[in-house]
């Protein structure tokens, strides 16, 4: 082969390489959009299906109702998603919610309930709730990151502890006397015509999306979830950030707990009962990967929206309770199967 020949082949190969990359890029770009839009499309289809079956589904009142219900679950799913990104999960999220609810209600009752000023009451609730959440998050984080216990066992442990604390400090009864100032801030109030719960969820969602995609902390979480060893070698303080992730999770759960407490109007020792699994389900159905490193605010919110629409639709179309359980199970499986197909049909 002559020199000229050789360079010619090189160049053509190179050119070819470039166009090939270009095409590959275009295609994966298209796929990304498909991937991002698939769940929203499914959601719209679901909503449309229910709307055909029952005309009360698409009333503005019910849509607002759906949005409001979603905001709670979305908040918890986002909290869960933060730790799932790091290959963990938080089974203690539900009991943390109960604990915070009771703790905050007790703090408010301790401040004299409605008699004290609104600001004082809300501050007391926030302080008590946050303190409990920090304790729980710190426990999880330290046990997972520093002691090296698997997140499952660590949070199973703290789940039990939180249940114990919640029932002990409340004596097993709802704590009453949540003042209206508190409900005003976390439930009955509204901003620009939107119920406050939706506003809070939106604000938290936007802030969290910013943190995850734009900050060193968020970036690091993804890297830790993708390859913790590589993260450590690259000098990322893995242990410290893991602790922060669990703290953030618990803090978001606490915020949700306060909102739920305002919604119930009392501190409830059983408030978080099945929220742990529900929040994990929502995050995962939305596309957060339990293997770590994949997911975001969108996946958590979409998952929450999906589950809420499903159960709202089934309630309004009068599907029996047990049948609902079966349908929900089937849809969860179907959801991931579709996700799978979407990924492999490239």
């Amino acid at each position: 082969m002559s020199d000229a020949n050789l360079t010619a082949t090189t160049r053509s190969a190179d050119l070819d390489g470039k166009t090939r990359d270009r095409r590959a890029f275009d295609r994966s770009f298209g796929q990304q959009w498909l991937r991002k839009l698939a769940l929203p499309i499914a959601l719209v289809a679901l909503l449309a299906g229910f709307a055909l079956a029952d005309d009360r589904i698409l009333t503005s009142y019910n849509l607002l109702n759906i949005a409001q219900q979603t905001s709670y679950l979305a908040l918890f799913a986002m909290a869960q998603m933060v730790v799932i990104l790091t290959r963990g999960f938080d089974l203690s999220l539900g009991p943390t919610v109960s604990m915070v609810s009771v703790g905050a209600a007790l703090a408010m009752a301790g401040m004299g309930g409605g008699e004290a000023g609104g600001l004082v009451v809300v501050t007391a609730a926030l302080a008590a709730g946050l303190a409990l959440a920090v304790a729980c998050g710190l426990f999880n984080g330290v046990v997972v990151a520093l002691l090296g216990v698997s997140p499952l066992v660590a949070t199973l442990g703290s789940m039990n502890i939180a249940i114990g604390v919640a029932t002990t400090i409340s004596d097993g009864r709802p704590v009453q006397g949540v003042p209206s100032a508190f409900s005003q801030v976390f439930y009955t109030g509204s901003l620009l015509g939107l119920p406050i719960a939706i506003v809070i969820a939106l604000v938290v969602g936007v802030a969290l999306a910013f943190v995850l995609s734009r900050t060193v902390f968020g970036r690091s979480l993804y890297i830790i979830g993708t390859n913790p060893q590589a993260a450590a070698v690259a000098g990322i303080p893995v242990k410290r950030l893991l602790v922060y992730a669990y703290l953030l999770c618990s803090a978001l759960a606490a915020l949700g707990a306060l909102m739920m407490t305002a919604r119930t109007g009392s501190g409830e020792p059983n408030l978080g009962g099945t929220l742990s699994l529900q929040s994990i389900a929502a995050a995962v159905v939305g596309g957060t990967s339990l293997a770590g490193g994949r997911g975001g605010v969108a996946t958590a919110v979409l998952g929450a929206l999906f589950i809420t629409i499903l159960s709202n639709g089934m309630n309004l179309t009068r599907i029996d309770g047990y049948v609902q359980m079966i349908v929900l199970g089937a849809i969860v499986i179907l959801g991931v199967v579709l996700d799978r197909l979407r990924l492999s049909a490239r």
Binding site: L91, V143, L147, G148, V149, S150, L152, V153, A154, L156, G157, S158, M159, N160, I161, I163, G164, V165, T167, T168, G172, T274, L277, I280, A281, V284, V285, L290, A291, D320, G321, Y322, V323, Q324, M325, I326, L328, G329, A330, I331, V332, I333, V336, V337, R340, S344
Partner: protein
């Protein structure tokens, strides 16, 4: 090459590390358990009473059987959240089938009993099969699939009964399986022992056991080594479903009625806890059922001890949580100290 060179330093660390590892793996949990046992027996005279020991063993048997199946699934890299729901479903199906058979046939009880047990086990195996097929064929994560089947299975159990206990099983069933004893021990304990022994054999000595380790340890390696993945993955879920159903049947015999409230989330979480405390790695590929059984015993003793020590039932979960974390943390700590990074 000369044969003396094969004994390099690496060899020695590898083999002695193996032995140490073994001691630690089997050693730490029993030590902790011994502490609990000695401590409790000093403080409560009833703890080491014969009846209490039998009770502990019976309760531990149920958990151990489920945890064995759960461990197998986790070793293969999966997760089975549906076991609690399967316990409930199997209980209901067993009771319904047995009652129906008893009233339809009217013949000897044994026929109805066999039909009932068969139906119960069948329901568990069917759920397991469904889980397995979804996981292996659709390549969906076990966590999500079994989260779905957990909800659906619980729904079916409730749909069948509306939550009302199912009666009408032959008395012989309750007497023979639920309450009979051999050599002072209830039947459940023997069944659990048999299950554990068989599972140990399966894990150590059979192709299936070996392939389960391989699939969980490195799926790609298993594929290129020519291991057929699907049947073995399905197998783990089927075994898990079957064992959960077995527990459902045993519990049904014990309480004397089919109940959709048996099992549940608590049982599922406990089985996972027992597996993990027993050294099964959630990343797959690692774990031995005999240690898992010990962990199941440990958890049961712990709960029993807290009751016998008159600890307020509201505070009990706090202790339980702390000790659980402590057990695994200690284990992790010693493992990390002895093994290099």
């Amino acid at each position: 090459m000369n044969s003396t060179a094969t004994l390099s330093s690496g060899n020695r660390t590898a083999s002695s590390g193996d032995a140490l590892d073994l001691v630690l793996r089997i050693g730490l949990l029993p030590i902790l358990m011994a502490i609990v046992i000695v401590g409790t027996s000093l403080m409560s005279p009833y703890f080491l009473g014969w009846m209490n020991i039998v009770n502990i063993l019976r309760m531990a048997s149920f958990l151990a059987i489920i945890a064995c199946g759960q461990a197998l699934v986790i070793i293969a890299g999966g997760f089975d959240l549906s076991v609690g729901a399967v316990v409930a479903l199997a209980s209901v199906v067993t009771a319904k089938a047995m009652a129906a058979a008893a009233s339809a046939i009217g013949g000897p009880d044994i026929v109805a009993i066999v039909i009932g047990i068969g139906a119960g086990l069948g329901s568990g195996l069917a759920v397991g099969l469904f889980n397995g097929i979804c996981v292996s064929r659709l390549k969906v994560s076990g966590f999500v699939v079994t989260l779905g089947t957990m909800s659906a299975t619980a729904g079916i159990g409730l749909l069948l009964t509306n939550g009302i206990p199912v009666y009408g099983m032959p008395k012989a069933f309750v007497q023979a399986i639920g309450r009979s004893q051999f050599l002072g021990f209830p039947l459940a304990i023997y069944i659990a022992l048999a299950v554990i022994l068989v599972m140990v054999f399966v894990q150590r000595r059979t192709l299936f056991g070996r392939y389960v380790y391989a699939i969980g340890g490195n799926l790609d390696a298993a594929v290129v080594s020519g291991v057929s993945i699907r049947p073995h993955l399905v197998g783990t879920y089927v075994v898990s479903g079957g064992l959960a159903a077995l527990v459902g049947i045993l519990l049904t015999a014990l309480v004397g009625s089919g109940q959709a409230s048996l099992g549940g989330d608590a049982m599922m979480l406990q089985s996972i806890a027992a597996a993990v405390i027993g050294g099964v790695s959630l990343r797959g590929g690692i774990g031995r059922v005999e240690i898992v059984a010990v962990a199941a015993l440990f958890l049961t003793i712990l709960g029993n001890a807290l009751n016998l020590l008159h600890i307020d039932s509201r505070i009990q979960p706090i202790f339980l949580g702390l000790i659980m974390v402590l057990a695994v943390a200690l284990d992790e700590f010693s493992r990390r100290r002895t093994s290099r990074v």
